[in-house]
Structure formats: C-alpha cells, structure tokens
C-alpha cells in the first residue's frame, strides 16, 4: 500500500498532517506523540516581524466548534531562525512553513529569507486568516491578488508551494483556479469561517476583535463541500481540513477530492487523533483493496 503524497517537487510519507496554528512549531506536541509517524507538521504562521497577537480572550467554545482570534502571534523571522528552525530541521517528519504577511512584499521577503534555511519541506501560504486587519483574508478573497502573489512566489523556491484558501468567498473554486494559474503546487482548504459570539451580559463580542475564526467539527460539512468544489475546478493536489476528528472524516475529504488532510482543532480534544486517523485510513484502504491514495478519487 502506497501512502505517499506527491506535491510539486516533494513527497510526503503519508497524507495526515497537523494544521497550522494548532501545533505550534512542533515541540510541545512532540512530547506527547510520535512525530515520525506524521505526514507533515504545518507550522504556526510565521511573519517577518514578531507579532504579539490579538487582545484577550482569544478563544471561545461554540456548538461543536470554537472561535479563535490568535492574530498570527509568532516570534517573527529573527527569533524563529534561532529558536524554532533547529527543532524543525531535526524533526522526524516534513515541516511546512505557514507564511503570513500584510502585503505582497512581506510574503515574498519572508519566503526569500526562509530559502536560506534547510529546516523545511515546503511552504503553505496563509492568504486566508480572518484574524488580522491587513493582509491575510483580503488576499485570499480576490482572484487577481491570489494569482499575482502565487506568480511572484513561484520563482523564489523549488520547494512545494501550497496556497491555503479561505471558505469565506462566493466560490472557492475560482480562487483555487487563480492559485493554479499562478503556479501553485497545491491548495489547502479550509481555513476558519468568519464567526462571532456576543456576551449578552457585557453586551459586547466575547473576543475583543469582534469576529474570529470558526473551526472544529461544526465546520466539517463546509470544508468537505469546499474541497469537492475545488476538485471540480483544478487538477492540483488538494489538502483537505476542517473538523477532522476521525478516519471517517478524513476519508470524506479524500473521497471529495483531497490527496492529503490536516488535523487541527481535534488535537485539542485528543492529541492522539492524527495517528488514529492515519491508522483508520490504512485500515479502510486495506479493507477496500485500495493501493494508493488515488483510489479515493473519481467515485462520484
């Protein structure tokens, strides 16, 4: 049984990764689970400058989900290269850097800098974070900006280049086409949905920023529908995520057209879930005589 996933110039050992922002830079969960069995660690968003993050509280639970407004809190490039990159380099599974920024030049400059390092397998470009004022989501909702950014990033690296898409658009298929036209190797979807919870006693949003990003089981049907739509529009590999808690959920994404998946919020419920998902995918392939991940595609 072949579990590998090829994305551009790279190959992942298996399809199950952990989602950006939910796994830090790998150290913390590395104390709890065997990183060598993961398909990839998609690292916490990285930006050129240190970002302290948004005001608190930053999270609130919602029905079968949660809102977060972390605000891409991260140490910034300088501290990253010293404090985090060495761990990623020595980590027993591929690391994907999640790149954030306010304007096009931020993304370009950061990828150029990261090319100096050898700690990573590829890039996931975060053009879909609902929790930063400038950049982030703005890029991800406009086909021209997505194509333009992807085109400019493409020559900067030979490593796999994944554009991470937002579900907060009229047609995510169009955005995926723009990423494909720009030369991306893959797209990942979905980032969080825009959501809001209001504290009716205090009469203001629970999260000071107002809206925040919805993730978890609640958004799974939305994520599966997005991946299905993208698969109708592009021939790029798709990395599916949003509310994956069990192998069955991951298989839904694979059947919808994904070639790999990520586990995010579910880690907060049980850190063993990514490895259970992987085992469940293997068992399903075994039971159904699938020999590679391609066998998940084209059933409907």
């Amino acid at each position: 049984m072949d579990l590998t996933v090829t994305i551009g110039s790279g190959t992942l050992p298996n399809p199950v990764g952990v989602a950006s922002g939910t796994f830090g830079f790998g150290e913390e969960y590395g104390r709890l689970i065997d990183l060598s069995r993961l398909g990839a660690v998609y690292a916490k968003a990285l930006t050129l400058e240190h970002r302290p993050g948004n005001d608190t509280p930053r999270m609130v639970e919602t029905p079968s989900g949660m809102l977060n407004s972390i605000g891409l809190a991260n140490p910034g490039w300088e501290r990253f290269r010293v404090e985090k990159a060495p761990f990623l380099r020595d980590m027993a599974c591929p690391a994907v850097l999640n790149i954030g920024g306010k304007k096009e030049s931020d993304y370009l400059e950061l990828v150029e800098k990261c090319e100096e390092l050898d700690c990573h397998w590829g890039y996931e470009i975060n053009i879909s974070c609902p929790n930063v004022k400038a950049g982030g989501l703005a890029f991800g909702t406009d086909t021209h900006q997505v194509e333009s950014l992807t085109k400019k990033l493409r020559p900067l690296t030979k490593k796999p280049l994944i554009m991470k898409l937002t579900p907060n658009v009229t047609d995510i298929g169009e955005i995926a086409k723009a990423a494909e036209a720009g030369g991306a190797d893959a797209v990942s979807a979905i980032n969080t949905l825009k959501g809001m919870v209001i504290d009716t006693k205090k009469r203001r949003p629970v999260i000071p920023a107002g809206t925040a990003g919805l993730s978890g089981a609640a958004v799974r049907p939305v994520g599966v529908a997005c991946v299905y739509r993208i698969a109708q529009c592009v021939s790029l590999p798709i990395i599916g995520l949003g509310g994956i808690f069990t192998a069955d959920h991951a298989i839904q994404y694979l059947l919808a057209g994904a070639s790999a998946v990520q586990v995010g919020t579910a880690l907060f419920v049980d850190p063993r879930i990514p490895l259970q998902v992987l085992e469940g995918i293997e068992a399903y392939m075994d039971a159904n005589g699938f020999t590679s991940l391609k066998d998940f595609h084209g059933h409907f």
Partner: protein
C-alpha cells in the same frame, strides 16, 4: 506531562455547586499550582478538554483530587461522575507555585474555584514546616467546602455575610492583621480578590504569586489561545505554559 487514562474513585458535592473529585493518577508527580486537562464525555459538544487545578496528590496511593464548580456543560456532566468512570487526563501541566522567598512566611489566599490549588499548596508548605497562613473566602456558609483542611496550618475562613468564620472578604481579613509584614503572598480565586492581594503586596513590598485562568484549547503551550496581557515587552504570556502561576507584578490589573 503525559496523557493517561484515569478512573474516578469518588465524586461528591462538597459545598453548594462545588464537587470534590478523587481519581487515579498514572502520570508524573504533580506539584501545587499545576493543572490537568480532562475529557470524560463523548461526542462533539462540549468539545474542548477542560482544565482544572489539582487540589491534592497522594503519592502512596497514586491518586489525585480536584475541586470543581458546576458552571456550564462540561462541569454539569462531571457532577454525574461515579466510582469507576473513565477519564482521559493530560497532566501535570503548567508551572508550580514558587517556594516562599527566604525568611518570608507564606500567606495563602483562596476562594471559589481557586480553593483546590491553594489547599494543595498550603498542605505542601505545612509539610515542609513553613507554617503557612491559609485564608479562604466564600460568599456564605453554604459555599464553605467540606474537605480536609491541611493539618498543622493556621486556617481562617471568611464569608461575605459572616455566616461562617470571619465576616468580610479575605482582603478585609488580611488588612485586619498587623503581623503580616515579611510575608510571601499566594493567591488563586476571583479576580477582585487577586487584585486586592496584589495591591496589598505592593504596599508591603512583598512578593506575590497568583494563579490565574484563561480559556484554553491545547493546554500545553502550542496554540497561543490562553494568552494574558503582561507588563513585558512581548505583551502576552501563555497561562498554560508560562503560568498558571505568575508574579502578580507582571500582570495587568484593570
């Protein structure tokens, strides 16, 4: 830190809406101030694990306890826990209460959902021969927990309405004592209490270590969700990993 399976030894209401939960502990030895996250239900709602501070640890029996208040969906489910029920525990998490600065008497204050961790601390410091003063505050006598108070430790109960122990808040009581110069203050409980304690400590130029809470997702330092604002250049620290116990002077009191 380890993720392990635990069995409930007992769960009983120890005061109005407060429960003492005793359970088996297979992880590394926990210390006062540390917490765990647990899940003891199935399904998608409530979703996230819930954090609770430890209120005791019995190394010989490998059992630990916590005191929780019934507040929302998760803690409501927890009130139904019975002997033998299964829990998924991640712990011990976070840092511990620091030892008192040399020569200073530990003065420990607690109340509400902060009762558990201060009992654990008072017990540990008593055993270490540090003669802590423990001051616990409650709304009225119905909220005073029927739990073992640490042996050999001066313990004072305060209630807002005087229906048990001293009348008034914990801070009123501390201010009524004139023998507290040279203390190291510790606290866990409602924010007004912690703020009052911080102010007292600043006045007396005494160290003050408080344990705080914030909504958590990962509980292990990975997600930055439990940040609290601090008076430091980096602006925020993580309660789960950098705390939950902080020097009160680095926190932002509003």
């Amino acid at each position: 830190m380890e993720q392990f399976h635990s069995e409930v030894i007992s769960c009983r209401e120890s005061a109005r809406d407060y429960y003492e939960l005793i359970f088996t502990w297979k992880g590394p030895v926990p210390l006062p101030g540390q917490f765990l996250t647990l899940r003891c239900w199935e399904g998608d709602s409530p979703l996230l694990r819930r954090p609770f501070a430890l209120s005791s640890y019995d190394a010989a029996e490998r059992r630990a306890s916590l005191i929780f208040q019934k507040r929302g969906p998760a803690t409501s489910l927890m009130t139904h826990l019975k002997t033998g029920d299964h829990m998924d525990i991640l712990g011990p998490l976070g840092g511990t209460f620091p030892p008192p600065e040399t020569g200073r008497r530990p003065v420990i204050t607690g109340g509400g959902i902060g009762t558990g961790p201060v009992l654990f601390l008072a017990d540990a410091l008593s055993r270490a021969g540090l003669r802590p003063l423990l001051v616990l505050g409650f709304r009225d006598k119905n909220f005073v927990p029927r739990v073992h108070l640490p042996l050999g430790c001066e313990t004072v109960i305060c209630t807002d309405d005087g229906s048990a122990g001293q009348e008034g808040t914990v801070i009123d009581y501390l201010r009524s004592r004139d023998d507290l110069a040279g203390s190291h203050f510790y606290g866990c409980g409602p924010n007004p209490m912690l703020k009052g304690l911080h102010e007292l400590a600043v006045e007396q130029n005494a160290p003050c270590s408080v344990s705080v809470e914030e909504v958590m997702a990962c509980g292990i330092g990975a997600c930055q969700g439990c940040a609290i604002p601090v008076n430091l250049p980096r602006k925020f620290l993580r309660v789960c990993q950098d705390g939950p116990v902080f020097d009160s002077r680095i926190l932002v009191w509003t």
